[in-house]
């Protein structure tokens, strides 16, 4: 149960948050392959990943965080 620093509420237990997945840019144009990649493929990175988090049991705001996917260390969290 690692902690995440909500930009609004401060450090809170991860159980207060909803994970929104890795940041995944929605293509504007591009071919079908690119669209399918956006829909179904994830990087599943080992390392520092930028991802969406929602403070469901707190201020109910979405924010971005840079988290190491192995150590769960949250290096930074900020508004989009």
């Amino acid at each position: 149960m690692f902690q995440i620093e909500c930009p609004n509420c401060g450090p809170r237990s991860v159980t207060e948050f909803r994970y929104g997945g890795e940041v995944n840019a929605r293509p504007d144009g591009g071919d079908e392959r690119e669209w399918a990649t956006y829909l179904y493929a994830r990087q599943n990175l080992l390392g520092v990943q930028t991802e969406w988090w929602f403070h469901r049991m707190g201020c109910r705001r979405w924010f971005l965080a840079r988290r190491h996917t192995m150590t769960n260390e949250v290096l930074e969290s900020y508004w989009p």
Partner: protein, 1005 residues
């Protein structure tokens, strides 16, 4: 520690036992002369007290129907019923003990080898084995709850946040806590498993080192003498009195979890302690020796004897043999003498005697002493009656013809310790086995974790006190630094005012202490010379079979040798194959000896052999503590009481309680179709959306258009994911140009709300999305007489021209400000009335009173399902699933592909191009008496061509109707399909129109 003026009575296997306050169950039983406390797991050999510290599995008992409690850790309480376990018919005469005679039938890994063939006999084997296996029994009798005793009790959870958490209240932990809170200015939580603080100082008498007087935490105590008991009392008092220190006693830190969180079990409470900084000062475990019959009752670890003597005032026996392998054994012998026990002999495996006052005491008492001697075997059946000691050579091998027989009823084994570093391992601390010290020392600590004292192989009280102080100040320093850092990073550093902390002087202090400690630490070379084969000597060569390594799982030295011979020579596989260290003690008594044995058999060093992975829980935890109270909210609408009074049958809809019906769902359906009905729809998701980009957000999130929706009007909408999958539906009301009121399904609101806010954040839209689900109550008043009913309590002009279908009005209903939505919820003309939740009961009652003359009926979810099914309205999530797009769900009209952009557009375009694979259709059963179940199959011969998603008998139509997904070839009006209803083929006809009022004329009236 034991107060003999305060007797306490409890029962053990039905027999009344008198104990004293301060006793544990184990000490009380020992006082009462009971030596056998349990039976071994596999061979059912008698077992008695060994560690007296909650480390070994020998004293597990059932207390008030809670099984497998460590009796040496449970304080006595008046009236408790203690029972032995794993023994039948009695502890003294356990029939299963015959297994001990036939142990060759149960070789190591026997569950992979025996009882396998012939295969058909397995059910019989299994029955026998299942009866024989396991420890303790669960009593499912709920009446135990009533009695207020036993395991059916209230368990709860607590969260604690501290700057510095210290686990272990021994000398290192006490100094760490006082230093961190004193000089360090941190808030400290100190956790200890025992009822009182002091750790090993509570039962190892002697003076405390003069150097300790220089440590600030000790200086402040102003001690008069150099007696350890005075030091313990003063330190313990100082910790309890310190305003910044929270002390948790009888609290077991059973595991380290991510984020420096410590799981602590205290009584019937689970405490999750979040530590900004953690100090592990958990001490060490004394280790048994491996010799023949080393599991007999009467064989104690040295500290176990000291605990009996000093903590409980017990005389352990009449005549004792003390087997030593390190300096601590001699103090045990001296303590035994002082307790009035005759010491038959002290043997030390080392070839010389240490220079220690305890040795001189033992010598002065005239006790026979033998160096270079160790124990070879113990004798006795139920209890120790004697032992054989033997001289050993420089390699630890027994010399023939040197054996001496000794009669005794107590054997003390004081040969080796192992650091209690389970929490450190779990936290990611790198620990190495130092061959020269024959001990496990930390190489590096993870951030915010430190160790101190015996837990990190620091020995000698002087060094331990210093080590604790260093850890305390280091943790406080690290905490101060991280706090400063986080205050810089967050602008709203709440409660940032801490007392000033002089970082520089703290660093200087630490440097000085560390230099002192380095000088005190054992020099590896000296330690090597002085230890020789000890403490590494744990077992001498002998062919006897009852040399137990693991007391929990009854694994012997021979079992481990056999397993290694079979190829399980890696500690991890050896552990899994032999089950060594997998029992209740979790390796506290066996891990080191198993590793040393593995090292010896494979010719590797202990460091090369490695250790098995430490995982929580490190100490047994009651399931009740882990499974305790969980917050599972139940939501009631503001009309809940009224429903209950009308005899509602409840249905769980997520967290909500909703009326399924009020006795007769069919009558409820008829009432809505013929007269009027009222349903509580407060659970509907409700969202208030406003802002300059509100229209734009709706345009992008719904598949249909909202830009052109005039103020005061309502439009049904469907939301899709970007894969083009339907995930929710509802209506959108326009209140103003930039202000909308939306509904979502009861089950979908959480997702919808987060979905909307997520896209709003991603696109940086200027909108406020507010979930107002609980703020508004809502009812749906529907039926041909609905207008007549509403008119009695509403100030609005309800004429169709003034308030037409799909329009919204704001007005007063029963004098309560309300939003009225004319929508076609159940297929009759009707109003959905939204109003502040606090008026729920009032509005409900007013509408029912107004409807009395038309015999209005309240209706529940069951009637709603039938009514909506008659209109072929889908339920998102019931009639659609994770593969359903709007075209398949027969709602192609709701997708406006011409729109510039919306979520799902691209995938839907692709899906349109691909063509329909299957479609949601209605069906009418040929036999109106047959109603298929949801999920039943639609078949064509052997082929599966569809599935039923909804089906009900419609009282309005007198037919059985439903909805189903069918392959495209069958998705046309009039197609015949075969549904396997309860496994029987039944006929039905497909329809693509609503079953009832297909033109929707009744809605517009």
């Amino acid at each position: 520690m034991v107060d003999k003026t305060k007797p306490v009575t409890f029962t053990f296997n039905g027999r009344a036992i008198t104990a004293y306050e301060g006793d544990t169950i184990a000490s009380a039983l020992y006082r009462a002369g009971i030596r056998v406390l349990s039976r071994g797991f596999k061979y059912h050999r008698p077992r008695g007290l060994m560690c007296v510290a909650g480390h070994c599995p020998n004293c597990l008992v059932d207390v008030d129907a809670t099984p497998s409690l460590r009796s040496c850790m449970v304080p006595v309480e008046s009236g408790m019923a203690v029972r032995s376990q794993n023994a039948w018919p009695s502890l003294e005469r356990d029939i299963m003990n015959v297994i001990d005679r036939f142990s060759s039938l149960l070789p190591v890994g026997f569950y992979y080898k025996t009882f396998m063939f012939p295969r058909r006999f397995w059910p019989h084997y299994e029955k026998v084995l299942r009866n024989a296996a396991g420890l303790g029994a669960i009593d499912p009798d709920p009446d135990r709850f009533e009695e207020g005793r036993g395991h059916h009790l209230y368990y709860d959870k607590q969260y604690l946040h501290t700057d510095v958490t210290v686990v272990g209240g021994g000398p290192a932990g006490l100094l760490a806590a006082l230093t961190a809170a004193g000089q360090g200015g941190a808030r400290v939580t100190l956790i200890d498993e025992n009822p009182s603080l002091g750790g090993h100082l509570r039962f190892t008498p002697g003076p405390w080192p003069s150097l300790a007087a220089d440590l600030p935490a000790v200086q402040n105590l102003a001690l008069a003498s150099q007696n350890r008991s005075e030091l313990v009392a003063a330190l313990s008092g100082a910790v309890h009195d310190h305003p910044a220190i929270t002390v948790l006693t009888e609290a077991t830190a059973f595991g380290w979890y991510e984020g420096n969180m410590i799981g602590v079990a205290q009584g019937r409470r689970l405490i999750k302690v979040r530590a900004a900084q953690l100090i592990v000062a958990t001490g060490r475990f004394e280790q048994p020796l491996v010799f023949h019959n080393n599991d007999l009752p009467g064989i104690f670890l040295g500290t176990g004897l000291q605990r009996l003597i000093h903590l409980y005032g017990l005389k352990p026996g009449r005549r004792a043999l003390l087997v030593s392998g390190n300096d601590s054994g001699w103090q045990v012998a001296a303590d035994l003498l002082q307790a009035g026990v005759e010491v038959a002999m002290v043997v030390d495996s080392r070839p010389w005697l240490p220079d220690d006052p305890a040795v001189r005491q033992v010598e002065a008492a005239g006790v026979p002493i033998k160096s270079s001697y160790t124990i070879e075997a113990a004798h006795g059946r139920q209890y120790v009656t004697g032992a054989r000691v033997v001289q050993i050579d420089g390699n630890g091998q027994p010399l023939p013809g040197t054996a001496v027989e000794i009669a005794c009823d107590v054997i003390g084994v004081a040969a080796a310790f192992v650091p209690n570093n389970g929490l450190l391992y779990q936290s990611g601390c790198k620990i190495r086995h130092d061959e020269s010290l024959a001990d496990f020392v930390p190489l590096s600590y993870p951030p915010a974790v430190l160790g101190a004292g015996h837990a990190v192989a620091t020995d000698g009280l002087e060094a331990i006190l210093l080590d604790g102080s260093i850890a305390g100040l280091t943790a406080a320093l690290q905490w101060q630094q991280s706090t400063i850092k986080s205050q810089r990073s967050t602008s709203n550093g709440a409660g940032a005012t801490r007392q000033p902390f002089d970082e520089q002087s703290a660093k200087e202090q630490l440097t000085g202490w560390q230099a002192q400690l380095t000088q005190m630490k054992r020099k590896p070379a000296e330690a090597n010379a002085s230890n020789q084969h000890s403490p590494a000597l744990f077992s001498i060569a002998s062919s006897q079979k009852k040399k137990f390594v693991c007391f929990c799982e009854d694994v012997t030295e021979k079992d481990i040798q056999d397993a290694i011979a079979e190829g399980f020579d890696n500690v991890e596989t050896l552990k899994r194959y032999t089950t060594v260290s997998m029992g209740p003690c979790q390796g506290k008594m066996c891990s080191l000896n198993a590793i040393r044995l593995c090292a010896r058999e494979t010719g590797q060093s202990v460091a090369e052999t490695g250790t098995t992975t430490s995982r929580p829980p490190f100490t047994p935890v009651k399931l009740g503590v882990l499974a305790g109270r969980k917050m599972e909210p139940v939501r009631y609408t503001s009309m809940h009481q009224q429903h209950a009074e009308r005899g509602a049958h409840w249905l769980d809809a997520g967290q909500w309680k909703r009326p399924e019906h009020y006795g007769d769902a069919t009558a409820e359906v008829r009432s809505v179709r013929e007269r009027a009905g009222l349903i509580d729809v407060s659970t509907l998701g409700k969202i208030d959306l406003r802002g300059p980009d509100a229209v734009q957000l709706l345009e992008r999130l719904y598949t249909n258009r909202f830009a052109g929706l005039p103020v005061g009007q309502i439009r049904y909408g469907v939301m899709c994911t970007d894969e083009g999958i339907v995930f929710d539906d509802g209506v959108v009301c326009r209140l103003a140009d930039d202000h909308f009121y939306l509904t979502a399904t009861t089950g979908g609101i959480t997702t919808v709300y987060e979905w909307m806010t997520w896209w709003a954040a991603a696109w940086k839209f200027r909108v406020h999305v507010t979930n107002v689900t609980s703020a508004y109550a809502a009812v749906n008043l529907a039926g041909p007489k609905a207008r007549q009913v509403l008119a009695k309590v509403c100030d609005l002009d309800l004429a169709t021209e003034a308030f037409p279908y799909l329009h919204l009005r704001e007005g007063a209903v029963a004098e309560v400000p309300a939003r009225l939505l004319r929508i076609g919820f159940v297929g009759e003309m009707g109003y959905e009335i939204h109003f502040p939740a606090g008026y729920g009961a009032h509005v409900w009652a007013a509408l029912l009173a107004a409807g009395r003359e038309v015999r209005i009926t309240t209706f529940g979810l069951e009637a709603q399902r039938v009514l909506r099914l008659e209109k072929r309205h889908i339920i998102a999530g019931q009639d659609t699933d994770a593969l359903s797009d709007p075209m398949g769900a027969d709602m192609a009209w709701v997708v406006k592909q011409a729109k510039e952009e919306f979520i799902g557009k691209r995938s839907l375009a692709w899906r349109n191009g691909r063509g329909l694979q299957e479609q949601l259709v209605g069906f009418v059963m040929a036999d109106s008496g047959v109603v298929p179940l949801e999920g039943e199959q639609i078949v064509a011969g052997e082929q599966l061509i569809g599935r039923v998603t909804s089906a009900r008998y419609s009282p309005t139509l007198g037919q059985s109707i439903g909805m189903a997904w069918v392959i495209a070839a069958k998705a046309h009006e009039g197609a015949d399909i075969t549904i396997l209803t309860h496994g029987e083929p039944t006929s039905a006809t497909v329809t693509c129109e609503p079953f009832y009022d297909p033109m929707g004329e009744r809605l517009r009236m």
